[in-house]
């Protein structure tokens, strides 16, 4: 049924439809409406789940690690500072191979205190062994949460579904909320490959010596490769039932493009408008949306970008002393290809600053009009201070 919901509610609806068994969260800022909706669903019985309110984000994930170890489908949501506090346990979740799904609403990190969109919080967790999927609208958020459970449970890895603060979390728009039976046909009950069982006592989390730790890490690496290989098959099934698919990356007008913009999150959506307008003016511009960031779809990215003359990556994030994080990954993906196009890195929209059609248009023109990148990272719209 088509409803008008916020991005936050699109997440909550998907969690309800996924028949999650346990939700644990810390409800204070920088939390979003996601867990507010879910606590309501638990209270009114529309979701038969246990809601565990805990004293911090660190505890929220710790509680879920225990829960998920017993073979229950589990969910949490956080943002910014809350994700940073979870950091240690993010490693724990993937190391324990628990397919927990988390909605991560991108919010800037303090200081200065800022609750607006910025991707540095989730990107700073790129090496924790979580699958990361970035979304551009409410429908994609709902669909991706459902796909995340299928994918995570298949390869035994946790999944972060990432969405922009405010531009997505607080924006109302039409979203098709599917029926429970339809979702059930896509997402069957969770069948854990291992779980704590009082009838078969065992211990988790003991000391692992050098003679096996490396193999355990390699196994996680293989699971990430499996996730990359399997995501399209999960999308095939999803498409059969829901008639929608997204792809690990989406290439729009890239085949004959001289310049390709690379985007994530809601900037993608606004860029579609800009690219359509530029195409109508005869500009040979393309757009590559990156949805799956971990595992990084390196071959797919390379095949989309390799024949362009210039690549312009828009990063709403920054790694101090290095540059925009997506730009770094794109450069790394291309570096072994002889004659690859130069990668222009643009920093825009940090801390919730608006990335309008004008900003995106300017990024295109600056890329077109310069022979080579002016700098490793070009900060858009900086004011004199």
């Amino acid at each position: 049924m088509k409803r008008v919901v916020e991005g936050s509610q699109a997440v909550a609806e998907a969690v309800r439809l996924a028949r999650v068994g346990v939700i644990s969260a810390y409800p204070i800022t920088p939390q979003t409406h996601i867990v507010e909706f879910l606590s309501e669903y638990c209270a009114n019985g529309s979701l038969k789940a246990r809601f565990m309110r805990v004293e911090s984000e660190h505890s929220a994930l710790a509680a879920l690690i225990g829960t998920a170890s017993t073979g229950v489908r589990a969910f949490t949501a956080t943002s910014g500072q809350g994700l940073a506090l979870m950091h240690e346990l993010l490693h724990w979740t993937s190391g324990a191979r628990l397919p927990i799904v988390m909605a991560e609403v991108n919010r800037a990190l303090a200081p200065g205190w800022n609750i607006w969109v910025d991707q540095t919080d989730s990107l700073a967790q790129r090496d924790t062994g979580w699958i990361q999927l970035y979304c551009e609208n409410g429908q994609e958020v709902l669909d991706t949460v459902l796909q995340a459970y299928r994918l995570g449970e298949l390869v035994n890895l946790p999944v972060m579904v990432v969405l922009d603060a405010f531009f997505l979390s607080h924006t109302y728009e039409p979203v098709d909320v599917p029926e429970q039976e339809t979702v059930d046909s896509f997402l069957p009950p969770y069948e854990p490959k291992f779980q704590l069982d009082p009838k078969d006592p065992c211990a988790f989390g003991s000391l692992v010596t050098p003679n096996i730790y490396m193999e355990m890490r390699h196994s996680i690496a293989q699971a990430m490769d499996d996730a990359l290989r399997c995501f399209p098959y999960i999308e095939d099934e999803f498409e059969k039932i829901f008639d929608r698919r997204y792809g690990t990356v989406e290439a729009l007008y890239c085949d004959d493009a001289d310049i390709i913009l690379v985007t994530t999150g809601t900037i993608t959506s606004t860029s579609r408008q800009v690219v359509n307008e530029l195409r109508a003016e005869g500009e040979k511009v393309g757009l590559m949306k990156l949805k799956l960031f971990r595992p990084f779809p390196v071959h797919h990215v390379r095949s989309v970008l390799i024949s362009a003359k210039k690549i312009a990556v828009i990063d709403r994030n920054f790694s101090f002393g290095a540059g925009g994080i997506f730009a770094q990954e794109i450069r790394a993906a291309l570096c072994n290809e002889p004659g690859h196009p130069p990668v222009y890195g643009y920093i825009a929209g940090i801390g919730g600053r608006d990335v309008t059609t004008d900003v995106i248009g300017e990024i295109y023109r600056r890329t077109k009009n310069s022979e080579a990148p002016e700098a490793e990272s070009i900060w858009m719209g900086l004011q004199e201070v």
Binding site: F166, F167, G352, T357
Partner: protein
């Protein structure tokens, strides 16, 4: 595409207005977006909320800086907030006030279409409270016609249940009692 900015105070339900309007638009097979001014909100403080309505899918996901329409839910805001900021020259300003459109033109110096209605009075009579978010939807429909009045039946029913008919009556009164002054 039509872009609308709503001015109200925290707690006056401007976000509910944008949600209702978006729902009504999709009832008609159109596309719509609604969002609040991003950031923390306090009860009673001036706030804004925004709508986009279009026949095509809406791709732009940034703020609205040059609205076609501005709606003011609280009469006191005209003196407090620059409500016409960015409003297109040929746009429409719709104010809940006892003043006439000419008086509002005098105060705001806005040259486009101005519409006024005493929505607080209507809301008090029909709903028993001075909350004008649903009442002012009627004014918006009369002035700029983004959706049909009937398309709000289902959204109001879903949100307000047994109070929906009273909200609809208030909405229709604002629609009928609107004073309109076209561009000067």
């Amino acid at each position: 595409m039509i872009e609308i900015r709503w001015h109200g105070r925290g707690g006056q339900g401007a976000v509910t207005s944008v949600e209702m309007l978006a729902l009504a638009a999709i009832e008609e097979g159109k596309y719509a977006q609604g969002f609040p001014s991003f950031g923390p909100e306090r009860r009673g403080a001036p706030v804004a909320a925004f709508n986009r309505v279009d026949d095509k899918q809406i791709k732009v996901r940034s703020g609205i800086y040059k609205p076609d329409v501005v709606v003011v839910l609280d009469p006191s805001l005209v003196a407090l907030v620059n409500v016409t900021e960015g409003l297109k020259e040929g746009g429409t300003l719709i104010v809940n006030t006892v003043l006439s459109p000419e008086d509002v033109r005098e105060r705001t110096k806005f040259k486009g279409t101005i519409a006024t209605v005493d929505a607080t009075h209507i809301a008090r009579e029909e709903l028993g409270v001075p909350i004008t978010n649903t009442t002012m939807l009627g004014a918006v429909i009369k002035a700029v016609n983004p959706v049909k009045v009937e398309s709000l039946n289902a959204p109001l029913k879903e949100r307000f249940g047994r109070l929906a008919p009273r909200n609809m009556k208030a909405l229709k009164r604002a629609h009928d009692e609107l004073n309109l002054s076209t561009a000067a």
